[in-house]
Subunit: 421 residues, 2 copies
């Protein structure tokens, strides 16, 4: 029965019970952090063989990877990870471990120098950026840092609200959009073919409009039959719109979160433009690490096999989160969520107006969740409803406790609100 | 006897001889590149033990270096390389392999966001930057990229012309200066204590003026008794001017040019400001590589010992360059150079108006030198005189041939010029 349909006296009885439970949690002296999508130790252990490769013979063709050169990465890395991302070696730049850094630098370059000859974005007053919500806080922070006004567009079941986006891009001061198209952060939804095709056909008023397509979870299935995403670089090319997209990815959640490699994929024209600027910025990425990745993974098939091992580790964790949500919170009318088939997060919408209180209550017993609001620009969720759960890092045992705390906190916060109305 | 004092007929005779020699070189079908200061294979081999360290146990204190976190680098790396650079762990940020990237990003941040609350440099019309000449082309390219007008100051025997610098900084639109204070690129000169102290006491009109102090060759002695450089971060602090300097360094020429680590040292106030911006830009550097560097080098003493091995490899190469210069070009009045005690380059001033022709002649027989003009902003040497020789990469045997070609080309170019006058 939904909380909303209960008598206040019934709710008060439940509140007393949940508060007893809460005091119990408090007495346990918990110290659990559920806030960031960090891989767990077992996942990091999967790639230790990569480090063996670093120490094998270092000569590869004519390039000594220990020396200077190759601003856009080792050719072999461009080939393998280009194949993984569905682009040719001339449509990819392979960088160091942070794809966020590649995205930031791409915004920075366009901000300082413009896009393929256009005016620098710094000169556009009232510059705007489309942010799909709920979304990834670090994306929003980058465009906020560069003075973009965030215009929000809701995520629907099959991707963002494309009607709204097509309307917004008629404004020339709208310069781009952040997307996590597969296993979106935080909801774990994947954009449908139709949505990708509409992105490919997008005709923004601004010629320098760019889709920042962060395919962070492109091979990160958890379910046996994962989602399938169309390749926007290819679709955009086919739609005669080749320059509209920059696609990003990394091995942060394939090999090592803190020592992987990252890549930027785009049309040759975009890549050449970016490479020209990069040759002023840097002497190039760590090629030994790129070589080790190439030697260790060898082929796209091996990468996909490797990802199945990650899935085996993550599956019981996601199961724990989703089954406790179902057991404790289904049908109460105070909570909603999507069952993702991959990615790193479970997104939960609690009763509007109670997300902050829920996180605060959990913190009160030593369980840290991502701060309420983080999935919105400026960390302001207008509904105070969306919360992001990151199941990857904690062991299943801790995850169980954390989710019991989450359920208890969600209920207390909801009842407090309903009783006060 | 100086060429300038010879009869034209004598010069013509020498020219005929040198041209015969030139044709001989041509017949050898040479293919030598002397243009970039890349370490040679033997130098890179010195650090292969570093790669063993990568594969040892990865846990270090509470941080798993394989995972996310630590935007400013691993604490242990900040400690060791801070000690090497003469700063505390809170005065250093340790990044990935390219210190050029740290410098570029520092300019970029001040350009986009300003310095400790000042107006962004992008908003300063007619912004200017002091470039010590001859200097490092990649430095000049960065400030040129961001629209700074380069104001040149000559390098004297004990450092740049400080009188001129003190005069220039009275202009508020002058925002900074590039320096390579030890074994300067290209001349291999080291700034005297007095010059460093004058930098420390500098009182620019612009509060957001910054000295970009690229201590790239801080431990790169070649001679037994190398030069000694005062620490500008310390001197500036003592002079009550702590925020004026950003000091840079890297292991590019200690461990691997393409896979080392780099560092930015500055006052805590500067570092905190930069870290705040960096936390938006990146999830942090490759900590496994930083850990490997810490484990392999262990102490500053070990780094200095390691550098002695580099010196052993480089000494015969520099000796070859300098002895051939002396043997062939001394006392002809057409060539001047400085004997460096360390660093990566030998800088040669040929007869004004002949540098381009000298490089062209060498190229004609298959020997590539750094393009004439590279040591000046916009690659324009007003005297067409300065040339940079990079002895590190080629084997001694090739270096000998390349330097004979250089001497021959220098003479031909000089005589051609003198005969035409």
């Amino acid at each position: 029965m939904k909380y909303q349909e209960m008598q206040k006296s019934e709710l008060s009885t439940i509140l007393i019970k949940e508060k007893e439970r809460y005091e119990n949690f408090k007495s346990l002296g918990l110290n659990l952090d559920m806030s960031r999508g960090k891989p767990c130790k077992e996942q990091l252990d999967l790639s230790m063989g990569l480090l063996d490769e670093i120490n094998s013979v270092m000569e590869l063709g004519k390039i000594d990877p220990r020396n200077y050169g190759g601003v856009d990465g080792l050719f072999e890395a461009k080939k393998l990870f280009g194949e993984l991302m569905g682009v040719s070696p001339e449509e990819i730049i392979v960088g160091d471990n942070s794809s966020l850094n590649l995205m930031y630098d791409s915004i920075m370059r366009y901000y300082c120098f413009g896009v393929l000859g256009s005016s620098p974005w710094s000169e556009i007053h009232n510059r705007k950026w489309i942010c799909v919500v709920p979304g990834y806080d670090r994306h929003f922070a980058v465009t906020e840092e560069f003075g973009f006004e965030s215009v929000t567009v809701n995520m629907l079941e099959d991707g963002p609200d494309m009607d709204k986006i097509e309307e917004l891009v008629a404004d020339e001061s709208v310069k781009g959009i952040w997307c996590v198209p597969k296993y979106s952060n935080p909801e774990g939804k994947t954009f449908s073919d139709e949505v990708v095709k509409r992105f490919a056909r997008l005709k923004p008023a601004a010629k320098d409009f760019r889709i920042f397509w962060d395919n962070a979870y492109g091979v990160h299935d958890i379910a046996e039959n994962g989602d399938v995403l169309l390749n926007l670089v290819t679709e955009a090319k086919n739609a005669g719109n080749p320059n509209i997209v920059l696609m990003f990815g990394s091995t942060s959640k394939i090999s090592f979160a803190g020592a992987g490699i990252s890549y930027l994929c785009a049309s040759k024209e975009n890549i050449d433009d970016i490479k020209k600027r990069m040759s002023i910025q840097t002497i190039g990425p760590n090629k030994i690490n790129q070589l080790a990745h190439v030697r260790y993974f060898k082929s796209v098939d091996n990468i996909l096999l490797h990802m199945k091992k990650h899935a085996q580790i993550l599956r019981p964790k996601f199961y724990t989160v989703l089954s406790i949500l179902k057991e404790e919170l289904q049908d109460l009318g105070i909570c909603d969520w999507h069952n993702p088939k991959g990615g790193y997060f479970v997104s939960v919408d609690v009763l509007p107006g109670t997300a902050k209180r829920t996180v605060e209550l959990a913190k009160g017993v030593g369980v840290i969740f991502t701060p309420a609001g983080s999935t919105y620009p400026k960390k302001q969720d207008p509904f105070d409803s969306n919360l992001r759960i990151a199941p990857s890092l904690p062991p299943v045992k801790e995850l169980e406790t954390a989710m019991r705390v989450f359920a208890c906190a969600t209920k207390i916060a909801a009842i407090e609100k309903l009783l006060a109305e």
